[in-house]
Symmetry: C2
Subunit: 317 residues, 2 copies
Amino acid sequence: MSFPKFYIGVDLGATTVKSGVVDSEGKIVAHFKVPTEGNLGPETVINNIRLSIETLLHQVEGNSVSGIGVGAPGIVSSDGCVKSPPNLKYWDNIPLRDELQKIFNYNIAVENDANAAAIAEAKFGAGVGIRDFLFVTWGTGVGGGIIMDGKIYRGPSGGAGEFGHTTINYNGPLCNCGSRGCIESYVGQKYLSQRARLLIQKNNIPSKIEELVEGNLDVIEPHIIAKAAEVGDEIAREILEESGQLFGFALASIVNLFDIEYIIIGGGISAAPPFVFQAIEQGISSRVLKPHKFSVKVFRAALGNDAGIIGAASLVM
Amino acid sequence: MSFPKFYIGVDLGATTVKSGVVDSEGKIVAHFKVPTEGNLGPETVINNIRLSIETLLHQVEGNSVSGIGVGAPGIVSSDGCVKSPPNLKYWDNIPLRDELQKIFNYNIAVENDANAAAIAEAKFGAGVGIRDFLFVTWGTGVGGGIIMDGKIYRGPSGGAGEFGHTTINYNGPLCNCGSRGCIESYVGQKYLSQRARLLIQKNNIPSKIEELVEGNLDVIEPHIIAKAAEVGDEIAREILEESGQLFGFALASIVNLFDIEYIIIGGGISAAPPFVFQAIEQGISSRVLKPHKFSVKVFRAALGNDAGIIGAASLVM
């Protein structure tokens, strides 16, 4: 007789540490959530991860847990060091895996969060049965992961998959990364909310976006614009059509160079209405080389917000 | 006692079919050259390839030849069909391998020309000992090939490596491929000669470029500008510094996404003075994510103009 196996997945986000117990079919059977407190430095953040894991271990009685996986922002080396995550303060190069291994006597793996989500989509989501695909996330920021031959492609320093810093205009807006015109600087939270504010203030028609953020135009996120577009808001539609097309332009460069056939799009935008995906597809096909025009297939990620936790847990399956 | 083995390599270019007999150390022991006559359609072009191969077989007495490789422009499928090469007329999708196999009873392989050159650099050139690198060519056009785990990465349709159509400005100049702002549209022959003409006509100082093309500003090629820069021509230097930097910007997007550590640059520009490579490196490091800033290494291709023939021959080694 064999007992069911469980895995703990931790999704280390800029604002929240989301975690869960995941079964071997990729179903989350228990959830936990705690603020990241990323501005207080690595020690506090690691303590919040520890708290999450301890709470979940307690919930499922530790002995049925087969491993712990963590998805972290930034570049993660193959030995689980997390380098320069954009939104965690005082965090240069922290050996997160080793730090957690000191505390927990379990098999532990640490991976870039978008890579973890890509693995989750490959194992349990929209990528089941597809051997090679590019997974991209479009939410507060833009990221991605490359699945090649069924496995994550990490590259020599573990940094592969950073789709957000593909340039679409070398003279474009300054990006958080220090470069200019990266796709993230065109369709990330910062840019989209500026664009929304501009259009809302210019137009006299009321926008559903304003209503959804209760007038606070500083907290506009892609998923809010998507929600407004869903109920027919014109400004939201205009913004998402524009930025969907630009997103497609950035993908086109990558399709040309790497001959990519399948693209899976996750993050907050994965809940957006179909016209956004059509705009992305149109952006791609208008800019790729002739032989790719009708061969590229774009899918919506299947695991939504749970991809982070499931992906992290997948690392130790 | 074993006899030395020889391989025939054919480099199918837009204007010339260059071919040669290559030994197993990558040395060319016999050369042949004939115009491509690409404007006369596939039948004529194939006949010119046939003529090249027959001439070389005759020269080395066919029985010591172990195979024939052809590098062709455009996307080449794994069964040797050549799709839509940009400068060959009436050429849609030709099964070049099968056509040659009907004529010659040898092992025959057909591959994209930049891929073949990448293989040559991996086997006999600047890529010896490097398992993963991006090979890019900068000449009349811009192309490339991806070496991964010591082998060429072709992608699902055989089109991988088309670096020339990486966008650096989605509103940039119209490219031959139909898209806008591809790096080829900024640093390819067409753009560079326009830029040179503009600067020559604007300035009153005489330029070495003008002298090298004997006053005919329509035939300016990157290698000509490189030659002028070498003897200190200011206009040439300005153009190559500008475009080297842009070339670096395009490479930066790719480094970010694929975490590429080694880049080998071939084509006409591989004979350019060191400052061009410094401009490329500066372009890359100013635009890549922090962890890549000091890790990317740029090399000059080692095989120069012979890479096409040696690469084609390598296909059957």
